[in-house]
Amino acid sequence: MTVYDSLFWFFSLAMLLSAVLVILSPNAVASALYMVLLFLFMAGLFVLLEAFFLAIIQVLVYAGAIMVLFLFVVMLLDAREPRRWWSNNVMGLVGGPLVGGAFLAAVVMVLRKTQWTVAEKGGAFSGNLEQVVAPVFADYLLPLEITALLLLAATIGVIVLGRKDDAS
């Protein structure tokens, strides 16, 4: 087993373990912190895939910005759950693992049947900053501009949603 292989297994198993802990933790703050761990391990997998720029973006935007937003809202709302959160949700308790297991079985079945054609290694492409960002400003310029507009719309929407209602 090479270093690459053991790193892959470490990152993926740790990531899946933190996903399970997100689901099972009764405390929403703990769930959010496990989510940060999940994003960090995902960044590790991105590094293994030579997507260095995306790994940095993952840490900065996901683990940094998005999860801080989550943590702020979790602490602001102080929405306490009962210690035994699973006791009054029998349908979800049965249905959740059932649907998840069925999906996983379908994925594994497809993966076993499919023969992927993989490009020759050592090609021109690797995930450094220039090679990822250059197409963004050439082939994908219109989606980029639309994304900018979407971010503006989201900002305005959040301001409107967050206002206190004067009527009531």
Binding site: A28, M35, L49, I57, I66, V99, F103, V108, L144, A154
Partner: protein
């Protein structure tokens, strides 16, 4: 030897766990975290295809997914905060008055 299918299997497992989180938990914030897990699973599959296929498209798409996820989280959390302000709860079972 780690191949493309290993990464896709991990991505599928993470997506399944996100689904379980969405169905199992009744807290709106936890359901939202499950959605984020699903987005990340899709990101991992895209980056793996991009790496093993030797094409930048997957990574560019992941870049857009991350940008849009940021906008989505901001709006979604604002909706949850507005809901909490009105009803004093984020448990979806307590908000089930529109059930058919």
């Amino acid at each position: 030897m780690i191949a493309l299918s290993h990464y896709l299997a991990v991505s599928g497992a993470l997506f399944a766990l996100g689904l379980v989180c969405i169905i199992l938990r009744r807290n709106a914030l936890l359901i939202f975290m499950g959605l984020e897990m699903n987005l990340n699973a899709a990101n991992l599959a895209l980056v793996a295809f991009s790496h093993f296929g030797g094409h930048a498209g997957g990574q560019v798409l992941t870049f857009f997914v991350i940008a849009i996820a940021a906008a989505e989280v901001a709006v979604g959390l604002a909706i949850i905060v507005a809901l909490f302000r009105r009803r004093q709860t984020v448990n979806l079972d307590d908000l089930a008055q529109w059930r058919g």
